[in-house]
Amino acid sequence: MRYYRGYLRVALTGFSPERFLNLCMANQIIIWNLRYREQGYEFCITLSDYRRIRPLARKAGVHLKLKGRYGLPFFLHRNRYRKWYAVGVACFFLILFVMSRFIWNISLEGNYRFTDDMLLHYLDTRQVRYGSPKHQIDCDLLEESIRSQYPEILWVSARISGTRLLIKVKENEVIGAMPTKEDAPRDLVAEKGGTITEILVRQGRCMVKKGDVVEAGSLLVSGRIPILNDAEEEVGCRYVRADADIRLRTSQSFRESIPRLVTEKAYTKQVRHGIRLRMFHYDLICLLPGSAETQWEITEESHQAVLLGDFYLPVWWSRITAREYGTYQRIRRPDELDALKEQINNAKIQNLMQKGVQIIENNVKILDKSTHWVVQGDFILEEPVGVGQNIKQEEEQEQPDERNGNHN
């Protein structure tokens, strides 16, 4: 505040400076940065108070001498003839003002299943992108449209802060929709072959038993329930929705080949540094020249220019590092081969576990071929089996009730 109003640095000399200081205090004149000097004192005072201390100085018999003028009024006065300087400053603020009317950064939070690219692409279709005017963005409408486009997103918050569009989403953590109850009659059939190890039927007629070997497509539980008379003859049938827990022992194997040679990068000590400046869609790259015949690994660390918190600007700068490298091939070491085998095996196990499969036996070995290695794995698994197959329903038939003689 003192800078904007302007203040002075004043030297004080004379017979009784303490009296002058006390007079200032009594007259509510604010003095700060009071320093003792060999010849007297120096202090700071506001421009308006300086006009009031002249009579006090006369009264105390001290002399005042201006040592410096500071603050905005003096700065403007000193630079009053520098018109282009003023134009430059005005243009700067004008550009800032114009820039502040647009969105220059879109921040997404809370999205896991829907990637940033997916959401940004969708926003792009809604005309919300880098450089969109802020007044064209209706946050409430945007929230609604995101929710309707992605039903898995439960909650959306969109707000504009500075030149930044902040979108926070909350996704539904329960995977998939609520299963709808179906009543259509069906059979349960095996989707793959194996040996039945466990079967528990809740509804339907069991067609297999524990220990049976089934093929893919075999009927496991029938949804057609025959109605028998006393002579064990089928007189009709009823259709139900077959439901059972069935576990099947199956075997599964995989083979994956690993090349004998592995390509490695060897870095030389040659490093090139450079910078890249991007403004709107224009790029300016300054990178020291290097040999075109050699290979270079280029990494870039990009930053967006920010002015005070959320005031992002359409200017990006990057630091580029290029490291020279050459490639060579070498034979894979035994420990690397073992590690790779473990990695492949673990990935397979992970994949099976995610499907709810129990691994009973697991044998993995490496076969040495002349040109490459083969990782071969054999699993014995126990997994849930049985997929629904709708029954083409015939008219339910039932034998006339012999007791009352009714005919249907």
Partner: protein
């Protein structure tokens, strides 16, 4: 008489003496900064000594490179290397 009543009231009602009696209030922050409230005026100031008049006493601060950051009617802030303080009548 009035002064004695004030003292009695301050002691009886346990009121702060700096408020009721205008006693000088001195707050040190380490040995490089001191804030003095309820002082009346500046008696001596140079870079080694600052002597102030309080309501009931004088106080003198010794040190090196002493300077007054700001002062007004109520409060003064002194910074520098403070070596000691002394009260006088």
């Amino acid at each position: 008489m009035l002064e004695q009543i004030r003292i009695a009231a301050a002691e009886g009602l346990k009121l702060p003496r700096d408020v009721v009696l205008g006693e000088v209030l001195i707050s040190f922050v380490g040995r490089c900064s001191v804030t003095i409230e309820n002082y009346r005026g500046i008696l001596i100031y140079d870079d080694k000594t600052i002597k102030l008049q309080a309501r009931h006493c004088k106080l003198q601060i010794y040190g090196r490179r002493l300077h007054i950051d700001y002062y007004n009617h109520d409060e003064m802030k002194i910074t520098g290397q403070i070596q000691g303080m002394e009260f006088g009548d």
